[in-house]
C-alpha cells in the first residue's frame, strides 16, 4: 500500500467512526430501518393512523424521559417516575370525580385535574430532592423508596381499580385532529421543545451538565448545587405528574397501574438517546428519538402480529448498542 493510499484510508476510517459515533445520526438510521422493516411486513404500518398511535404512546414516555434526561445528566437517577405517574393520575382522577359530582364545568374540571396531577408529581419530586440533598441518601435508594411509597399509596387510595367518573370530555381530548396529532400530543411536543431549549441554551441546562460533569467544580464556581438538584428532581416529578394526567385523558380514568415500570422505559430512552449514567453527557434530541424508537417498536410489533413482549428483547439490543457506540465515541476522540 502506498503511503497516500494508507493515509486516505485512515481519513476514511476516522470519518466513518465519527459518523458512527454521532448518536442522533445512528438513531435516525435505526428508526428509518425499523419503519422500513415494519412497512415491508405490513404496508399499513406506513400510515398517518399508525403514526398517530405511536405518538399517542410516545407522549407519556417522552414526558418522563425528558425529566429523566435532566436527572441522568446531573449524575443521578430517578426510579420513582413510573409510580409517580400512577399516583398523580389517581389523585387527579379523585379530584375530577368530586368536581364532576358537584357539577363543575368540564374544561375547568380538567384544568384543575391538570394542576392536581402536576402538584402531586412535583411534591414527590421534592421529596426525592430532600432525601438526596438534605438527608444525603444516594439517588438510586432515595427514589427507590419513593417508588415504593407512591406505588403503595396509589393502591391503598384506590383499592386497586381505575378511578373514573370525571368529565366525559376528557377521553375525547385524545382524539387526533391535526393529522396524527391530538391536543395532549401537541402540548407534549411544544413542552418538550421548550424544555430542550432550557437544557441546551439556558443556564438551567448548563448547571445541570456542570453538576453531572464535576459537582465539585460546579460548587467552587459558586453554583448552589443542592438548590439546582432540587429543581431537577422537582422537574422530573412535575413531568411525571403531567404523564399521569396524559394517561387519564387517554383512558378516561386514573389507574394505579398506569406508568408501572415507566421508569425503565424512561431510562432506556435516555440511554438509547446517548446519555451516560455517570452524568455530564446527554442530548434532548437523543432522548426524544429514543422514546420514539421505543414506541415505534411497540406499535410495529402489534401491526406485524408479533407478541409485544418481544419489545423487551429489541430494547435490550438497542441499549447494548447505545453503550457500545458511547465507547466508540470516546475512542474516536483519541485518534
Amino acid at each position: 500500500m502506498t503511503p497516500t493510499a494508507s493515509w486516505t484510508f485512515k481519513v476514511f476510517v476516522k470519518k466513518l467512526r465519527m459518523l458512527l459515533a454521532n448518536q442522533q445520526f445512528l438513531l435516525l438510521v435505526v428508526l428509518l430501518a425499523m419503519i422500513g422493516f415494519f412497512t415491508a411486513l405490513n404496508p399499513i404500518f406506513f400510515s398517518s393512523a399508525v403514526f398517530g398511535n405511536i405518538l399517542l404512546d410516545w407522549g407519556p414516555v417522552v414526558l418522563i424521559a425528558v425529566g429523566e434526561t435532566f436527572v441522568v445528566i446531573s449524575g443521578g437517577i430517578d426510579l420513582s417516575v413510573g409510580a409517580n405517574v400512577g399516583l398523580s393520575g389517581v389523585v387527579a382522577a379523585y379530584a375530577m370525580e368530586a368536581m364532576t359530582n358537584s357539577h363543575q364545568g368540564q374544561n375547568f374540571t380538567i384544568f384543575i385535574g391538570l394542576l392536581v396531577a402536576t402538584g402531586v408529581g412535583t411534591f414527590i419530586g421534592l421529596i426525592n430532592a430532600l432525601l438526596i440533598t438534605k438527608a444525603r441518601i444516594v439517588p438510586f435508594i432515595a427514589t427507590l423508596a419513593t417508588l415504593g411509597a407512591a406505588g403503595g399509596m396509589s393502591i391503598v387510595f384506590t383499592g386497586g381499580g381505575p378511578i373514573a367518573g370525571g368529565p366525559d370530555k376528557a377521553i375525547t381530548l385524545s382524539v387526533p385532529w391535526l393529522g396524527p396529532l391530538s391536543t395532549p400530543g401537541i402540548v407534549v411536543i411544544i413542552l418538550v421543545t421548550v424544555i430542550g431549549l432550557f437544557l441546551h441554551k439556558a443556564r438551567f441546562g448548563r448547571y445541570t451538565y456542570a453538576i453531572g460533569s464535576n459537582s465539585f467544580a460546579a460548587r467552587i464556581a459558586g453554583i448552589n448545587v443542592q438548590l439546582h438538584l432540587t429543581k431537577v428532581y422537582a422537574l422530573s416529578g412535575l413531568l411525571a405528574g403531567l404523564a399521569g394526567m396524559y394517561f387519564y385523558l387517554r383512558l378516561g380514568s386514573g389507574a394505579p397501574t398506569s406508568g408501572a415500570g415507566g421508569e425503565l422505559d424512561a431510562i432506556a430512552a435516555v440511554v438509547i438517546g446517548g446519555a451516560s449514567l455517570s452524568g455530564g453527557i446527554g442530548r434532548m434530541s437523543g432522548t426524544i428519538l429514543g422514546a420514539f424508537i421505543l414506541t415505534t417498536v411497540t406499535s410495529g410489533l402489534i401491526i406485524i402480529g408479533v407478541a409485544p413482549d418481544w419489545k423487551q428483547v429489541v430494547v435490550a439490543v438497542l441499549i447494548a448498542a447505545a453503550v457500545l457506540v458511547q465507547g466508540l465515541r470516546s475512542s474516536a476522540r483519541d485518534i
Binding site: A202, R203, S213, F216, A217, A218, R219, I223
Partner: protein, 254 residues
Amino acid sequence: MAKIGDILLEVKNISKSYGSVVALTDVNMNVRAGEVVGLVGDNGAVKSTLVKVLSGAYQPTSGSIFLDGIERHWASPHEAIDAGIETLYQDSGLAPHLSVSANVFLGREKTVPGLLGRMGFLSQKYMDMTAHADLDRVGIAVPPSSRSVSRLSGGQRQAVAIGRAVSWASKVIILDEPTNHLGARQAGEVLAVIKAVKARGLGVIFISHTLPHVLQVTDRIVVLRLGKAVCNAPTSEFDADRLLGTITGLIETT
C-alpha cells in the same frame, strides 16, 4: 484596589481538625498586593486543607480570616469568590464535559438581553469570544473556546483553569499545584502567567512541591511541617538546599 504592598488576605491561628485528626495547627500567613507567596512542605492533604480553608470550601475549626483588614467568615466558596478570591484546585476545578468558554464562565454566565435573558438563556457567542480573549490576554496558547475540556491536553486544561481564575480574580489567586504534570515549556508558560498576574497588583498564593518553580517565581515562602507553619521568610533568604532542609526539618527553625 489595594496599593502594592498592602496586606490583602491574612489568616491568624488557623486550626483544622477532622474528629481527632488534626490537619492544621495555629497557622499564620498573609499575602500582599503584588506579591507571590509560596506554600511548600508537608503532605498534599495538609496543603489542600489550608487551600480549602482560604477559599471557603472548608470552615476552620478555630482561627480567623481577614480580607483587607476586615474579618470574614466564608460560608461557601461562593462567598470567597464574590469577595475576589479565585482558587485553582489541583486537577479538579473544571467540568470536563463542558466547553472551554462554559468552564471559564461557569457560575457567571452571560445571558442574552431581554425576557429570554431573564429566563436564563445564554449569550454563547459573547462568552466564546470573551473567554478566548481573556485566555489570550493571560498569554497562554489557548484552544478553541467551543471545544470540550475533556478533549484538551493536561497543559491546555491547566491553561484554561488558570485563565479562568485570572480573568475573574479581583484580589487574590490561590494556585494549588498549577505546574503539576506539565512539561517544562508549559510550566514555563504558567510561571510567566503568575508574574503577569503579580504585575497587575493581585496577591498570589502558589502551592507546589516543585521547589525550583517556587524559588523562581515567589517573593516569600511559607513552609508547613506537621500541620504547622514553621518558617515564613523572603525567598531571597533561601537556596535549594536551605529550602529542602527547612521542609524536611534538618535545618531547625524557631
